[in-house]
Every structure is written in C-alpha cells, then in structure tokens.
Amino acid sequence: MTEAMIRNKPGMASVKDMPLLQDGPPPGGFAPVRYARRISNTGPSAMAIFLTFSGAFAWGMYQVGQGNKIRRALKEEKYAARRTILPILQAEEDERFVSEWKKYLEYEADVMKDVPGWKVGENVYNSGRWMPPATGELRPDVW
C-alpha cells in the first residue's frame, strides 16, 4: 500500500496535494524552557568567609604549637635520661680502656726494648692534651 492510498484526500489531483504528515509540536506549543542564569546572591559575605578561614588557620597553628610543646617535652625527657646514664657508661668504658692500654704499652715496651732512645708509652702529640689512640688496634671486636 503506498502512501497515496493511505493518506489520500478526496479530490486529490496528484501526490503533491497529499495532506502533510509531520512531527511537530503539540497544539498550543511546548511549555517555555528557562535558560537564563540564576546564581543567587545570598550566603556568607566575603569578609565572613575570610574571617572563618583565618580563624580556622589560627586555631590550627595554635594546635601545631601545642603539639610541638608536647613533643619537645618528650624529647627533653629522652635527652635527660641519656645525660644521666652517660657518666656510668663512660666510667665503664674508661676502666676497659685503661686495662687495654696498659696491655698495649707492655707490648710496645716488649717490641721496642732493643731500640735505643725509644721512650715507651706516650709517643703521642705535642699539644699536651690527651688524645685517644688513632688506630683501631685497641678495639679489634669493633673494627
């Protein structure tokens, strides 16, 4: 069945007189569509936003300071404990060093006993201060 047989109008002379079959708007037209901007002007003002931000920042920095205070106190506690036990550790090490040093001096005297003019023992620097021995011979377990 062609369109002419379906859509014909009585008294049609040619196909060009067929009534129109179009897709169109409903009668009365479509409802109006809003496309304009509607950004409202309400809400906090610029000063209010700035003050809130600064307040939050200041409070945050204050909390940072408080936290630093606490952390510094913890570090102080740790360092104070280290300071208190330093003398005993150093005293123990001194005892061990002195006995090792005596053994080393005896060994040196034994090795150099035939060398004329060798002053055994303190063959160290000229400044007068005591310097720890520079070689690693006295702590073979460490070095």
Binding site: A81, I85, I88
Partner: protein, 108 residues
C-alpha cells in the same frame, strides 16, 4: 640469660640500656653528685686514667642504686625494664609501667 632480665643469677643488676633508661630518673636524683664530679673531672682532662677514681664512685653509686631499686620493688622494676626492652627505651610507650614503678619506688 634473656636480654630483658634485670638481674643476673646472683641478684646483681645488669646495667643494660633498658635497665639504665628505666632507672634514669632515679639515677639523676640519687647519684647526681657523683655524676657531676665525674663530668667535671672529664672536662678538665679527658684522659681516662686521671678520672678512674671518680668513675669508680659513679659505678658504685649506680650499681648500688640499681640493686636497691630491685630489692625494694622487684616486680614493678622487672615489668618496666621488660617494657623498655620491648619498645627500645621509648618512654612514651611505657607510661603505665612507669607509673606503677614510680608509685612502688618513689623518686625522692
């Protein structure tokens, strides 16, 4: 001998790092004179042979203090030393044991 024991077989305290840091506050109060004398001697002359006597005083004071602490409050001290050993001498992680220890053996 486990590493977190505070005393050896005969009841003498072993000065490991855990034991020393656990008793650090007590040492700071009760052995302060000896510590200060030793440090002053060291400042004058770093030669270990010159400060041996003061060093022996320090060792005597601290080891005597450790033995005294262990005799007065053994359980609390062992708990605190064990906690220090477990947390490698971190004071903030052992507050409970520290409080129990300081209640039993108060810092004077």
């Amino acid at each position: 001998m486990e590493a977190n024991a505070a005393v050896d077989g005969t009841g003498n305290p072993i000065p490991t790092s855990a034991v020393l840091t656990a008793s650090a506050k007590h040492i700071g109060i009760r052995c302060m004179q000896e510590n200060m004398a030793f440090l002053k001697c060291k400042k004058n002359d770093p030669n270990p042979e010159k400060c041996l006597e003061k060093g022996r005083e320090v060792t005597r004071c601290v080891l005597g203090l450790l033995k005294d602490l262990h005799q007065r409050c053994p359980k609390e001290m062992d708990a605190y030393v064990g906690c220090m050993y477990y947390y490698t001498n971190e004071f903030d992680l052992c507050r409970k044991e520290q409080e129990a220890f300081e209640k039993a053996c108060p810092l004077k």
